[in-house]
């Protein structure tokens, strides 16, 4: 748990951080966001005492940071710095082992931990353990930076724009990975970004700052639905409805689809029973093969001819994807519904455009679903 009370940092006459109070509950992700220079990094660095506050108090796990030895405090706080800062003279394995080494772990334990963490951040240990930082791409280096911060399994993580140096495509992948890792590890995280989409996607709580002052500290839904002031309203942007979709997972709004097995296409009519236009076709293993448009079916044609075969990876969304992913996939393909598959491409449901629309306008109901699920 992290608690800041009335924290202030002065540089000359300027207040980089001005009377900041916020609390990150155990196991929660708080995203600190705001324009460049608003004091995000300064706030983070006061927590691990790289910068001393000019006023206020900071507690980590119930202890005032000023009462702890800085080295001891920092070894318990995983820290991902804005500029990555891997040690260029050490291999990936030894970079990950820096803190465990400081803590006196034995060699074998460090080696095992490095492998485990590379797996966790989605890098193949066989390939990456022996590499040196300059042999890594920006995105790979940031993953190693995250692995390094996790090495000694600190309960609290301070992450300063951990995905800042990554292109949008890979950034989304890393965000998804982060969300997955966090569902597993339940760290207490203070995460800095200036990307509002990233904040909405990852946060349990969002803290929006401007010129060192906290503007709003609330759940992403609250920030989207009730921005505290004009600054927050403008910062969140005009596409609030669209952003809300990021918070809704496909599996929470999907419905069960009309299905026939491959080879029994003639049953499509009966399955559709006049209520569903599209009937999905699956193989014996449950994998999505394609669909049939019952509007195309004529009584005297071979029903198999009405089957449109598809590549499941292209023409469906995963059940843990966000509704926004589903929407953009639908728009991209020009459909008013899309199949939902699991990690083995097995059909598990269907999301319709109507469901997306509903979530956009009355998002709150689905949002409570997610919140409950996350809490449970």
């Amino acid at each position: 748990m992290i608690r800041l009370e009335g924290v202030t940092r002065r540089y000359g006459d300027e207040l980089a951080v001005d009377d900041l109070s916020l609390e990150v509950a155990e196991g929660e992700v708080c995203v600190l966001i705001g324009p460049s220079g608003c004091g995000k990094t300064t706030t983070l660095r006061m927590i691990n005492r790289l910068i001393e506050p000019s006023g206020g108090s900071i507690m980590v796990n119930g202890r005032n940071v000023m009462s702890m030895r800085p080295e001891e405090l920092r070894r318990g706080l995983g820290y991902v710095i804005q500029s990555i800062g891997l040690f260029p003279h050490l291999s990936v394995e030894r970079n990950i082992g820096v803190v465990p080494h400081l803590l006196g772990w034995d060699k074998q334990r460090m080696a095992e931990r490095a492998r485990e963490l590379l797996h966790l951040v989605g890098l193949d240990p066989e390939v990456y353990l022996g590499k040196y930082p300059r042999q890594l791409s920006g995105g790979e280096a940031q993953r190693v930076g995250v692995a390094r911060a996790l090495a000694a399994d600190p309960p609290v993580l301070l992450m300063d724009e951990p995905f800042g140096a990554v292109d949008p495509l890979n950034r989304e992948r890393l965000q998804a990975e982060f969300a997955r890792i966090q569902r597993e590890l339940h760290k207490t995280v203070l995460f800095v970004t200036h990307d509002i989409d990233e904040a909405i996607r990852l946060a349990d709580k969002v803290a929006i700052m401007r010129d060192g002052r906290l503007q709003q500290f609330a759940s992403p839904e609250e920030v989207l639905n009730h921005p505290a002031n004009k600054f927050v309203h403008d910062f969140v942007g005009a596409d609030r409805a669209l952003k809300r979709l990021v918070r809704v997972r496909v599996e929470d709004v999907m419905r069960s689809p009309a299905i026939v097995q491959e080879g029994s296409e003639e049953l499509a009519f009966r399955v559709a029973a006049g209520r569903r236009r599209f009937v999905y076709v699956i193989d014996a293993a449950g994998k999505l093969v394609g669909w049939m448009d019952t509007a195309d079916l004529e009584p005297d044609m071979d029903p198999a001819e009405a089957l449109t075969r598809v590549d499941p990876a292209q023409a469906s969304v995963r059940s843990d994807a966000s509704l926004r992913d589903a929407l953009s996939r639908m728009l991209g393909l020009g459909f008013r519904a899309i199949a939902v598959t699991d990690d083995k491409c097995r059909l598990v449901g269907e999301v319709t455009f109507a469901a997306v629309e509903e979530a956009m306008t009355e998002g709150d109901e689905h949002i409570t679903n997610i919140a409950e699920e996350d809490a449970g």
Binding site: E72, S83, G85, P88, L102, K131, Y132, Q135
Partner: protein, 247 residues
Amino acid sequence: MSRRRTIAIAVTVAGALAFVWLINATALWEFALRALFPTLRDVLMPRDTLATFVLQHLALVGTSSVLTIAVGVPLGIWVTRRSGAEFRSLVVAGTDLGQTFPPVAVLALAMPVLGFGFWPTIMALFIYGLFPVVSATIAGIEAVPRSVVEAGVGMGMSSSQVLMRAELPLASRVIVSGIRTSVAINIGTATVGAAIGTGGLGVPIIGGLAVQNMAYVLEGAIPAALLAVLADSILAQVESAVTVAEG
């Protein structure tokens, strides 16, 4: 170790052995110098053997370089620490000044204090060689990316751990290259020591100039030049050994 490194080391070792053989090959020197200067009565300085001059020279250069490194590297480190930061420009200016002083002038200044002989020369060489080592140490440490230092501190390293595990390993290549420069300067400058009776390869050079015997001058100058090349290539091996993998 790469094939290239192995070859480079083998060549250096062979060069060192060849050098040892050459400075002991009195007959060869005698023959070659007589061929060049047939009119001279003596072509090798009778005062000592060439090997002795070389050993004296090595003693001068070795002692002064050890001192230079022992003082220069810590001094350079200290002024990059917070505790020594305010002395940074003073130290740089001081060592810089030491180098712009002609070595003979340093000798003249050192003599009244330290007297004739070995130690005044060491003093002069030490002051002379200090600048490249100090400035390379500072440059090497200051070239370490800030993000690396910040990451180290942020992960809970003490400042000495950051120094030993990140800053020095990353600066070592630059520091060794400063030492290379310093040693090269010292090998040449040590010849002036002969003027105040410390021996070394300066003896035949200065003696030869005094009695207009060019064979003596070559007897000192050629081994001094070879020694400089040899020392440089040995240190080059050290430099590539400390150049951390970095892939």
